[in-house]
């Protein structure tokens, strides 16, 4: 490109780039830089934020050191792990089931697709309220159903053991339609000729599922896995509304901690450091995802 053309292109691009670039500076880049600085201070959110305040409150890496040496951080990670161990297998089986069902060409399939997606459309606030009521120990329908098969249901949200499984239950119910439809688009991309070849070779339905469908679906499954892991670390609204981190801190998770430290205790530095630790976890997961993606995402050039 000639110099004149380059300058012309630059001028032409300015009006098109202006909104996003301004937005990027003000709502992304600048906050990111400020966040790093705040995480190195014990700023309380009350004094006006300027370079002088920041240097007065400077504490170096103390916030990070403190978080990593308190048992609370490791408990919070433990809660997230508890959530993941329960959530991932359940949501995986449920959404795979949904994907397989919706992949059939039957009458009325659209109605089912819309229905399965309704929980995804529901806001977490509404969904959490519904589940709080469904799981009400005495008057909720969940324990009512359990009583039909002779089980006395626990008082879900006020029990240290059962509060997290209750949140998992609500999350699986809300997310399975989303991952189901994602896996469905993966299923649709599988070439039908594989199945025909398998049928000629005399492979049954079950064999076909495990030796064609599942292996060819692994890229989508891998993507879902990473996405649900990232989401698991960002668990928030359902915890806030269903348990507020309780009972006795049994459902405290990272974003809930960031919110509580930042906007309830005004320990802005501590909360910011927490958020950067969250970033490191998500960063590692994203790198894993990109490495895995190289093997399967096919971009048309």
């Amino acid at each position: 490109m000639s110099k004149r053309k380059k300058r012309q292109a630059l001028l032409q691009s300015v009006p098109f780039m202006l909104p996003s670039f301004t937005g990027m500076l003000v709502f992304s880049l600048l906050p990111i830089l400020i966040s790093v600085l705040i995480s190195l201070t014990d700023w309380n959110g009350l004094d006006k934020l300027n370079p002088e305040t920041l240097s007065q409150h400077f504490v170096g890496l103390q916030n990070y050191a403190k978080i990593l040496t308190t048992s609370e951080f490791w408990q919070v990670l433990g809660h997230t792990l508890y959530y993941i161990v329960l959530y991932i297998p359940l949501v995986f089986v449920a959404s795979l089931g949904i994907a397989v069902i919706l992949n059939k060409n039957m009458r009325g399939i659209t109605v089912f697709r819309v229905m399965y997606y309704i929980p995804v459309l529901t806001s977490w606030v509404a969904a959490s309220l519904i589940w709080k009521w469904v799981l009400s120990p005495q008057y909720g329908i969940f324990n009512q159903f359990l009583s039909y098969i002779g089980i006395r249901g626990p008082s879900w949200l006020t029990s240290e053991i059962w509060a997290m499984p209750a949140i998992v239950l609500a999350s699986v119910w809300k997310d399975m339609g989303f991952f189901g439809l994602f896996l469905l688009s993966g299923l649709k991309m599988i070439d039908m000729s594989y199945y025909e070849a398998a049928r000629v070779d005399g492979a049954g339905k079950t064999k076909q599922f495990f030796s064609i469908t599942l292996p060819l679906l692994t890229p989508s499954i891998f993507f879902c896995l990473i996405m649900s892991l990232i989401n698991a670390f960002q668990l928030f609204p359902q915890v806030m509304i269903m348990t507020e981190g309780g009972p006795n801190g049994a459902t405290q998770v990272m974003v809930e901690r960031i919110y509580t430290y930042g906007f309830k205790y005004f320990k802005m530095g501590y909360a910011s450091a927490y958020s950067w630790l969250l970033f490191i976890i998500i960063f590692v997961l994203t790198i894993l995802q990109m490495k895995g993606q190289k093997g399967w995402v096919h971009y048309e050039s």
């Binding site: 032409q12 691009s13 780039m17 400020i34 009521w133 005495q138």
Partner: protein, 274 residues
């Protein structure tokens, strides 16, 4: 019974079973919302309210400016969506079709910012909004739509597939950049734009944490915040909470069912044009 019929029966049994599991909490919500306060705690559980009443709905509207919240949600979500789509499509156009010097580097910077979770910028953004005196105003939740790297990324992928010849041809015809953008690029990317529109609308409608920090004035609250604050005040009156939840869900479900058709049309239109 032959094999085909058996397969059909099995399909409908399984799909209906899943539908029942998915729908039962919603049906319970609807049933509860028509109960009186006393019927909530009646044992055995009333699956269908014995004396249905709309008292809960009246309470929702009388105890909280709920109509106002519906308006706030609509206004905020529509503005948020329009700004997201406009800003993202304009940026994607500049990245892919104007190819100004430095475009690749800026695009990489945009994409890199996607890795930073929103929680990292929560506190500084709060400080910035406070400094700009925007707390408790609509712009505080609308303006961040100016930069949504996910949307930009999605549209960049789509616009790359539009041949440069189209642009050249329009330019030779004497069309300016804005006309090319409006009359060539936007129609050709309509299906991707439709997808971005509906996902952004859903996100905006259901957003929780950021509005929770920004909008504390009752008259500025969105529906999700209104529900949240009902929960704080009337935490045990589930008939009121369920009535509010039901109301908050209706608009988004309508949008989704309408968009279902648009999606198909968008894909078909794209196919005809290509």
């Amino acid at each position: 019974m032959n094999r085909n019929t058996w397969q059909k029966v099995r399909f409908y049994m399984v799909s209906c079973l899943i539908a029942v599991i998915v729908m039962i909490p919603f049906l319970w919500m609807v049933s509860t919302s028509f109960k009186s306060k006393g019927a909530l705690m009646a044992l055995p559980i009333q699956w269908i309210p014995e004396k249905p009443t709309t008292a809960a709905y009246e309470k929702v509207f009388s105890r909280f400016p709920f109509l106002r919240a519906i308006f706030n949600s609509l206004f905020i979500t529509v503005s948020y969506t329009v700004i997201t789509v406009l800003s993202a499509s304009m940026a994607a156009f500049a990245f892919t079709k104007i190819k100004f010097p430095g475009a690749d580097m800026i695009l990489k910077l945009y994409l890199a910012s996607m890795m930073i979770p929103t929680q990292v910028t929560l506190i500084p953004l709060f400080v910035i909004m406070n400094h700009l005196k925007l707390i408790n105003t609509y712009p505080s939740v609308i303006l961040p739509a100016m930069f949504r790297p996910f949307g930009i990324f999605m549209l960049v992928q789509q616009m790359r597939s539009v041949p440069d010849d189209f642009i050249e041809a329009a330019r030779i015809d004497g069309a300016g950049m804005f006309r090319i953008f409006r009359t060539v690029i936007l129609p050709l990317c309509s299906s991707a734009i439709a997808t971005l529109t509906i996902t952004t609308f859903m996100e905006g409608w259901n957003d929780y944490l950021w509005p929770l920090l920004m909008l504390t004035d009752k008259n500025k609250m969105t529906l999700t915040l209104a529900l949240n604050s009902l929960n704080g005040q009337y935490g045990t009156e589930y008939n009121v909470l369920m009535a509010g939840s039901l109301i908050s869900m209706i608009p988004i479900i309508i949008v989704y069912i309408c968009a279902q058709k648009n999606f198909k049309q968008g894909i078909m239109a794209g196919g005809v044009k290509a």
